[in-house]
Amino acid sequence: MYLTLRLSIVALLLVIFVSVSSAADSSSGCGLGWQVFPKNSLVSSSLRSTTHVFLPNTFSMTSGTSGCARHDIVMNEYKAIHFAEANYDQLMMDMARGQGEYLNGFAAVTNYKGDMNAFGSFVQNNFVNLYPMATTTPSEMVANFRNLF
């Protein structure tokens, strides 16, 4: 009977382990640049180092009770690159297709305020100029965009 009881407890713990993994949100314990991307994340690893650049010099990673970066706000000049990097595939798809939510987002972070139809046609027609190679990085794409637009 005690064996049964012990086995039951072990079983229950195993079950709950399986369920508990939903507790850990892999996107962030805290903050953009910290503990954000689990090892097998599809977001490029360079994004992690990029975000540290965002933290203004006066702020630093806290230690102690919170253990988090205090500021998760993406600074303006890096908004476009961060967006392009975090949404690499989806943005490419929207650009190839001439429309989409990610394209709208990209327009917003590059401060484009005009007609989205025209914007869509522009990026679609210039797709190979924006992404000349398979290895074109998001920041290169943004630079290409600035040059073209």
Partner: protein, 611 residues
Amino acid sequence: MIMAASSEAALYLSQNLSPNLYSDPYWLKLLHFKKGRSLAKGKDFFLAPQGNVDPQAELEATVKAFNDPQAKIGTLKLHPQCIFIERYRFLKEKGVIETTPIVCKDFDFWKKGINAKSLTLVFSTAFPNDPSSMFGHTFIRFNQNVEGKNDLLDYGANYSAYIEDPNPNPFVYAYKGIFGGYRGFFGFSPYYMKVNEYINNESRDLYEYDLNIPPENVERLINHLWEVYATTYFNYYFVDENCSYMLGDFIEVAMSKWDLTTIARPFYLPSDLIKKVMSIPQAVTDLHYRPSLKRKFTASLSLLSLEQKKELKDLIEEKKFPRDEKNDQVLDSFLYFKEYESRKNKVNLQGKNQGAFREALMARASSKEKSAELVIPLKEENRPERSHGPQRVSLGGGFDKNQAIMKGTYRLGSHNQMANDDGLEKFSHFEFLSLATSYAPKGKKFKLEEAQLIRLISLFPQDEFDSRLSWTAGGGFEKIREDSCQDCHRFGFDGGLGKTFALTENHWATLMLGNFAEYSTHFDKNLRMGIWGQLQFLGKTHSIYKYKVASKIKTDVLTKWKTHYSWENTFCQTLFLKNNIELRMDSKWWSRLGAMTQNTYEHNLELAYYF
């Protein structure tokens, strides 16, 4: 901890502090004070030494700190006014503080970045085939105060446990998760990162509930989140003080009249938060459905003709080059497929892995035609708040070969493949701690027949583009029926793998093979181990009725297979009535091949209630 300032401040305090302000519900809410102590654990959150158990001392210490120009708090060494933004606002409103507000650069920068006008509560559904996500998840999005805003660029906030070890030992993980061994934090990130994580990486749907919270109340929540963010953490308890409970607790700071955290049972589910919010009149102004990547792919498929589907398959099987594909819709489907596949297999589509994906992108862009927006409507029956409560209780009766029996069951959680799956994944099954008792009028015998610990069943209908296996695992204490013994029980565990085929959208067939291990004093050597195989048909109609027809053969391999070889046939039906009540009929027949005289059967009818 801030030492007492001048006696002037003390005088000011006693003159202006209305009696019992420290027991003002809002003050207690800001301290997250429940059952005699604060839920917050980080010491920087408290200005008084016993602030976590003494709201009065904490209030007095807070006022003194605000009045002390030299005071500095925590690792950031900021003035208390720049940390405890919401406490300051509250005390100023009550006339307790009259200091001039100082400039708080950090907080201002942070708050301006979030730029919040309103709040949206987001629910992510369970991930198909992953029981650990079966309860879903909740987090919030701060909608920016911008004309024509893009949701992706809003900031989201999320409460989660910080797990230091990237690969924790499962038992340590479970133990710490249940008993508060992990710290819980609020984290912020641009919403597009949350969308990536759930929609794209995990193929979960998002339901976005716009909350009717005025901007000045949203501001209070932001102020308070800063207070917590800058100083403290909580103990994360998977069962009750989890992502959803804590989120509810914090939303109550914005809307004090809303009760989002009171619950009768010992655990709190993400869907509970949604149900509570939906039950408050006018709390939700709109619901927006954000389908997963998998659903987008499926929707794009439905736009293709048979001929076009063949072209898609040719592209996937690399029998055709994307550059030779002229049809935009086929290319769009192919792009979605490559995206979905890369997420599923966790392979990056960047650099040298781009291959066919890039070729398809270039082919698509060269057509210069824009894609039509994919329209994937929200199905009302899938709304998370429609799900039944996790607990189940039933009363019924039945008969077997020997006698009539009355039965009563209770289950702690959570959902069964034969129950109404509105608001849940279709035919999902995750049950734990189910008890079944019987009472036989003939012998006046009351018995505990079953105590099922856990049962998980994950059915994944095969399609041409995704062929995941279905599986099951579970076990517990149960009655032995396939043997001649009338009152024997065993402790058993089993697991299995198989394939499911959707004969139609709502009628599935599953073939599974598995193994089992059982312990019982009734057995010859107390132990049986073996294999089993099952064919099952499961179907539903219109959220009113479900049926299951199944046939299972099981054999013990520790003895000659002919000795303990049983065949179990099942026919089960459920009729869903109003108000979370169901009527279930369950018939089972057991026989032992080679010993047909030992056939037995059991027929049951029960009325069940979910809560």
